[in-house]
Assembly symmetry: none
DNA sequence: ACTAGCGGGACGACCCGTTTGT
DNA sequence: ACAAACGGGTCGTCCCGCTAGT
């Protein structure tokens, strides 16, 4: 059924697909190993527990996003920020979109001290730093407050793209530029 | 264990508390009926299935929000909008805050056609209409696009208040007024 | 929903319909009282237990058959026997036919000492006596052995009409007359 | 408790014993796995559902009968037919006899399209074909009608052996020869 | 290192027949 | 006549460990 990749990779790929599409608690270990074509002992050889696999799934998602961010188009920080939100819009329009994997996973793991939640927190901290660095590189006058708004905007867009209809790229770009341009007037 | 209220109410109250705090799939009916002090047959007399109870839980949440919105302070539509987002901020700072019940529930029910997802959609449509009506009452020049941003802002704030630290009321008010005031320049 | 008849009759009618169509164990008391429009207390007022209702169901079936047998057409015992088997054929061709109620009930109550099995045994003894009396009235030379064959034929016809296709009236009459006419030759 | 045979075989053997002795709906999977000394997960590894096991039980019963029929004593078709009915008589006299497994199972599964009913239908079609082939081999002048009577006789004998007393081998043989010899007179 | 299968025990949702209060 | 309570039972799935074989 599958042979070219390593068992661990097949496990992780299958888990990624199923966890994202159907939710973590809705997918059992048996189903994952079956669809990955891997023995159960092998599973527990690579992952100490199911939660470990969930964590690995989120870390892999985060790594992918970080890799994408490293190759972000745009010469200026300002352009890079716009590119980030453009990709948010694209993501929300992909046919199998099912919301933000981190937000969804957090919804199923209420305890903030749980390792899965730590992975979520790590990812969010990375993203916040990424945006903050870009704002500072762009010499934004109020980077600390603007990053909050941009993060909130990103989360809201990802939620809305799943639960409502999603915004056009133009509308998103307008919103971002508005936020970026309006920093000085307020208290 | 419990006596003053009707079994159905106790069931719904207990379910609300547990579903919100620990997630829907993580809470079994046995636990709910045990903590509500109700027999299992009584449970299935009032709710045909567990999903039915989940639906009732979300509908009750929505009803509560609608009731609160009906008594919103503020004389002008503009003030009412600010009051809405002020309550969003308050909500996010409450000690037991665990994110938006509707977003969390949607994360556990991937199928958009599921009754639970319908309840989520209903609530979101109501909130969108509420904001849109206020924008139009305020004669906002671009209500249709602004409502999208405000809804996204609300979702993002609710997500961030759970997963990050949450914004101050002042920062929220600034963001809202910025969005409200920036409507004419764009297409 | 139903009012003209007494609660007990409605209970028995509903139970008869459901037990026969879906099997005894597959139908719960809740469903019976619901479809009969009767309170549960009323049910347990008229029938001490569910098995009691099952017994009453079979007794009513037996009574109905006895009443029909009392008005059997045919002037001679021979004709009456033919009429009995003709009605067996008719029964097997009725659209909602689902096998012999007594055989079906016995399949769900393995213990021969159970009251339900007693009701089955009573009915079968009655039918055997009926046929035996007719054979003796007809001065059949070997009534004791012939009654066994006729009872077996009846059971086999009722089983086959449910599980296979069922025989024509002509084929049934031929079989009965053959059995009736062949008594002397054998040991 | 059990070790020599494979789990699947132990499951099937235990189910066969319990289903036949007590009825399908009266025996739960918990009891089967307990008496078979098998884990529940193993059960659901071999049988997708309980109904699947019921089907397997009936298929195994059918296979056993087919194997027995393949080694039927008797040189002529006529003798083979007599041997079939002799074994029916023997079966009915065995101490744990509880009726025909197929008739009993059908009584608990009202829906003719259910897989269990299909297994019953398959078995009955096989038996009918077996008898029909023997009749034709014996150059019986009216095989098509005679097979119906023999099938009905078999069913009736099996029912009666459970619910009444059962016939002697001699009486059964007389009945069969009577049916076989009486074919020409009628239409 | 990987496979295949089995054991284990707790828990999932849901329904059972029965009794009691109101 | 309704609603509730009760305890146990239904089938099915959960995650995890272990053994034996390759």
């Amino acid at each position: 059924m599958a042979s070219t990749t390593s068992p661990r990779d097949r496990l992780l790929q299958t888990a990624t697909r199923l966890f994202y599409a159907e939710g973590v608690h809705a997918v059992g270990v048996d189903r994952i190993i079956l669809e990955a074509g891997v023995a159960k002992a092998t599973f527990y050889h690579h992952f100490r527990t199911k939660d470990d696999l969930v964590r690995a799934y989120l870390c892999a998602q985060s790594d992918a996003q970080r890799a994408k961010a490293a190759e972000l188009p745009g010469s200026s920080p300002h352009e890079k920020l716009l590119a980030i939100f453009e990709s948010v819009g694209e993501l929300g329009r992909s046919p199998d979109y099912r919301g933000c994997p981190f937000v969804n996973a957090a919804a199923e793991f209420p305890d903030p001290r749980h390792p899965v939640r730590q992975a979520v927190a790590d990812h969010r901290m990375w993203f916040r730093s990424l945006v903050l660095d870009l704002l500072r590189s762009a010499k934004h006058p109020d980077a600390d407050r603007t990053v909050e708004l941009l993060v909130a905007l990103k989360d809201g867009l990802l939620v809305g793209a799943d639960l409502d209809h999603g915004l056009t790229n133009a509308a998103i770009r307008d919103a971002v530029t508005t936020i970026l341009d309006t920093a000085t007037a307020k208290r």
